[in-house]
Amino acid sequence: MSNQNAIQTGNEGSFLDAGRNYIARVKGGETGSLPALLGLVILATIFAVANPIFLKPINFANLLTQTATVTTLAMGLTFVLLLGEIDLSAGVTAGLSAAFLAITMSEYGVAWPIAAVIAISMGMLIGFLIGLLVAKVGIPSFVVTLAAFLAFQGLQLVVVGKGGLIGIDAPPILAIMNTPMQLAFGWILLAIVFLSYLGTSIYSRRQRTSSGQQNKPLGILIFRSVAILVVGAGFVSFLNLERGANPAVTSLRGVPYVVPIVLILLAVGTFVLNRTKFGRHVYAVGGNAEAARRAGIQVSRVRITVFMISSTFAGIAGILMASRQASVDAAAGRSIVLNAIAAAVVGGVSLFGGRGRLSDAVIGGFVIAVIDNGLGLIGLASGLNLAITGGVLLLAATADAITSRKSRTS
């Protein structure tokens, strides 16, 4: 029924037309995370050639757990970056949450689920306070979160004690980063991901058909379904290979528990950004806050909420961090926020607001982790990986600035 309207929806045409449109959009500067994906492939190829260990299952599993904390932080930060704001305190918020998790369990004997809820809620509260100072008082977020970055380091020192270290021994918390799931769970996870994709796609196609709207060509749905199955199956079977150093003693195989956790955060966050009014308002405020205000959107509420989301993700990242290290020290989380910001920007999230997705942050997180991991395997001096990460970030930020300028002046 689309010919009823002379005006198109961009869904017209065949599978090939859709491909051509995509290429045209990329050429027009809407590259999304494509450069990061290409970079990832190039880097992985270089490292695989330079050192075969890079491609071993053990290294791949390591990579996943290495990125998980930074990626989670980066996904939360993406909400803040979408408004053109910044949150420098996310890392130390994660550290503080980790410290609260450890202390409530070890010193007050709190059960791990409650301790985890406390840690995450504390993150949320911190975000609320930061958001209030930014949105209501009008202090630039750079300053508020820099102040929090400094203050929380001090607080952390007080909580943990100088040079102190609090151990984590709750098995479920430790399992997140250190124990793989049973082999079958990896396949079940893939089935869930695939069926959710298929389900939501078919649902929205039905909805469009019932309101007489043109659907995207079916070929796209099939293409994506096959891609998910192929990539997912490769991923699961690779992680299900034996990777233990001494399999006869302890077998180590399966998808790490942190993978479904990150996937759930990614799915829920993406749903919120793409399919809800709140998500739409985040993009609107990031694109043109004045237009959003005139359209009746409560801009300060959106601001406060994104800082709460960022800090809540930081709280979750804190738990991942504690799980990986099996302990929390006084400096926990201090250095990771910059990596997380770099991950988001490298993945394609704009620093100018209004452009970016959570999946960009995940891909960017991989790039950062692969650089770190690969250069480590090659055995380059450790200063060099910082320099290279910095260079990659600068490259991504340059692309971002050029794209943003193009769309402002066109």
């Binding site: 002379a6 709207q213 809800t276 739409r280 609107a284 005139r294 402002r408």
Partner: protein, 251 residues
């Protein structure tokens, strides 16, 4: 065409900024189905008059009648609730969003919390079609990729979508070329023909004479002329604008 009661009638509204009187006992009325032009030199008080109607900057004194009944306009919400919509000169669109998103901004439709994109998309397309918009190819284009005239079109279509009774346009053609100006003026005309009361601010008398039914002239905060287009000419209007000529609009 026009019924007897104006949609909006302002009686002796005043507005001062400190000691500066910007609006001095201004009377103004707009009718459904008509394009009312508001002209005047820079600083005459046109934008100030409009901001009062938009609820952004309330008047200090005077009466506002909406469809014959006195109303208060102290916030943008109140204006919006009455069906008064302003298309600002800077348009206030989100470049990073597409046409549908912009047209529904702040009033998105959702089913159980999930955005109903299909429905919004067809409403947006229908509105553009009903305005005979031919320059916009796809409703899913990002606004950043649109020309000035297309952006203006989206901003106006947004006002139409919400079934507003009064649409106020602040210099809608100021930044446009000849062809696009022509298209936007046609759109303005169609709005009035669809029964809306349209107020247009413009410095371009040619545009004003093309599209308006009635012309109001502000001169240093006073309404010095209110004439039907059919009963005046450009030379007279220039006279009113520069203060060389007055037609007392009082009672």
């Amino acid at each position: 065409m026009s019924s007897d009661t104006p949609v909006i009638e302002l009686k002796s509204v005043k507005k001062s900024f400190g000691p500066v009187e910007v609006l001095k006992d201004v009377n103004f009325s707009v009718r459904a189905g008509e394009v009312t032009a508001l002209v005047g030199d820079n600083g005459a008080g046109k934008s100030t008059l409009i901001k009062g109607l938009a609820g952004i900057q309330p008047y200090d004194a005077g009466t506002i009648l909406f469809e014959g009944k006195p109303v208060e306009l102290h916030s943008p919400r109140q204006s919006a609730d009455l069906g008064i919509d302003v298309v600002y000169q800077d348009l206030a669109l989100c470049d990073n969003l597409d046409i549908v998103h912009n047209m529904f901004l702040g009033r998105e439709e959702a089913n159980a919390g999930v955005l109903d994109e299909g429905h919004m998309e067809s409403e947006a397309a229908n509105t553009l079609t009903s305005l005979s918009v031919k320059t916009v190819k796809s409703v899913r284009q990002k606004v950043a990729r649109l020309s000035g005239g297309q952006r203006q079109t989206v901003a106006i279509a947004r006002a139409v979508l919400w079934n507003n009774k009064v649409v106020i346009l602040d210099e809608p053609t100021a930044a446009l070329g000849v062809a696009q100006t022509e298209q936007v003026l046609q759109l303005v005309r169609r709005l009035a023909d669809a029964g809306k009361a349209v107020i247009i601010i413009s410095h371009n008398l040619q545009d004003v004479f093309t599209v308006a039914d009635r012309i109001y002239v502000l001169y240093l905060g006073k309404m010095t002329a209110a004439v039907k287009k059919s009963e005046t000419n450009q030379a007279d209007v220039v006279g009113y604008i520069t203060g060389a000529k007055t037609q007392e609009v009082g009672a």
